[in-house]
Symmetry: C2
Subunit: 267 residues, 2 copies
Amino acid sequence: MRVGYFQFRPLFGKVSQNLLTVTSALRKVEADLIVLPELPFTGYWFRDRAEVMALAEDPDDSPVIDCLHALCREKRMYIATGFTEKRRDKCFNSAVLIGPEGVLHVYRKMHAFLHEREWFDPGDTAPRTFLVKGARVGMMVCYDWAFPEVARMLALRGADILCHPSNLVLAHCQGAMLTRCLENRVFAVTANRFGADKRPHGELKFTGKSQIVAPGGVLLHRGPPQRQELYVAEINPAEARDKHVTKTNDLLADRRPEMYVDLVDRI
Amino acid sequence: MRVGYFQFRPLFGKVSQNLLTVTSALRKVEADLIVLPELPFTGYWFRDRAEVMALAEDPDDSPVIDCLHALCREKRMYIATGFTEKRRDKCFNSAVLIGPEGVLHVYRKMHAFLHEREWFDPGDTAPRTFLVKGARVGMMVCYDWAFPEVARMLALRGADILCHPSNLVLAHCQGAMLTRCLENRVFAVTANRFGADKRPHGELKFTGKSQIVAPGGVLLHRGPPQRQELYVAEINPAEARDKHVTKTNDLLADRRPEMYVDLVDRI
C-alpha cells in the first residue's frame, strides 16, 4: 500500500489557490492514501471566530470537498485532510477522510491549541477507524499528538494507520509520534505545513518536517523543515496487526483497563 | 533536591550479598531520593513460582526492608526500590517507597512481562503519589513504561517525579520515557540493572542505560550499558508543576476525560 503526505505552504484565506496547489500536486502522484496538513485550504492564524465562519464550509455543501472527491474518484485514491468545518452556527477544526465513494468520516479535533478555543467549538466526535483499501485508518489532528489517549483509542479501534494532519509550531511532536507508533504498534503519517501565516494581528510560523513512522517507532522518512514535498512510502499495513513486543507480550492485550479509571475522571 | 539511581548487577538468589552491594554504595552518597532497579535483591529470571515464593519477603517482616529503613533513617534519605513481595500465599513484582519514617507505599507492577504471569499475582494497587521532602513521588515498574496510562495516572495524582525500577531487556524504554516526561511534564528516574541472570533453565541479559529525564522530555543523564553507576542529579521538582507548553496550553487541563471512555473498556 502506498501512503504519503503533501507538505506545502498554504496562503491564508486563498482557498481556491490552495486547492489548486493541492490538486495539481496530487494529480501526478501514484498513491492509495495521501495525508494533507491541518486547515490546508483556509490557513490557520485567524483573527477571530467570525473570520473562521466566513472561510469555513459545510462538508455536505463544499466546493473544496467536491473537488477532492472528484480527484479521489479519478485517481482511485483516498485523502485525509484538515478541514475548516462549518455546521450551521458551529465550526470545528476537523479532519475529513475522502475516497472514491465520497466522505467516509469527519473527525473534530479533540484538543484545542493556542486560540482555537475562541475560534472553534470543542471537538465532539469520538476517534473511529475506517477501511481504506483493506487497511484500517484513523485520524487525529495536530496537538492531539500530546495526548497519548487519542492514538491509543484509535489503536483500540483497530487502526493500522494514523493520519495526522498538522500545523505544528513546536519541535516536540515528531519524537512523540515515534513513541505513539512504538506503544501502539501502528503506522503514522504526520503531514505538516511550512511557511508562515502573516496577518495584521501577528505572524505564526510552521515547522514542516512531516514524517512517516512504522510500528515499533521506526522512522521511515522525515521531510525538510521549509520546503514543499510530496512523499509516498510503500508499507504493509498488516504489520500493524501484530502487537507483540515479545513472544508472550501483546501491547494491547497486556493492558489493564479496569485499573485505568483515573483516566476518565476530572481529578 | 538530589535524586539519583544505583545501577548495578544483582546476583541471582544472593539476597544478602545484593543488599550489601546496595547499602555499601548508598552509605557514601549524598542524596534525598535514590531509585534502585526492579527485583534487585532476589534477581529476576526465576525458574517458577515456587522459587519466587522461596525468595520473596513480606515487607512487614523483611530483613531487607528493615535494613533499607535503617539506612534511610541514618542518611535522612528515601529509597524507591523494586521488591519481591510475598503476602501469605500471594506474591507480587512490587516497588516499595521507604523513608526515615518507614515504608510509605507498596506499588504492585500493573503490566506483566514475559513469564511474570506464571510467577506473580497481577498487580492490584492503583498508582498513587507520596510526599518526599516536599516533592510528590510516584512509582511504576519496568514494562509499565509501554503503557502511557500509568505515567498519566501518576501525573494526574500530582507526581513531580516518577521512580521507575526496571530490569530492561529491550532497547525501547529510554526513548519512550522522554515522551512520558514530555506529555506529562514530570521528572523520571529509570533505574535499570546490567549483567545477566544465568540459570539452569536459560539466561536473560539486562541492558543498563539508567537515566534521569526532566519535564519537556529533556535527558539529564543516561548511564553506561554494562557498568555499575551511582548517579545523582540536582533537580527542582517545582518545574514539574507548571504543565504549560504554551501560554494558553496546560497539558493536563487541556485533556478531555469525558471523551476517553474507550480507554477503560475491553474493546
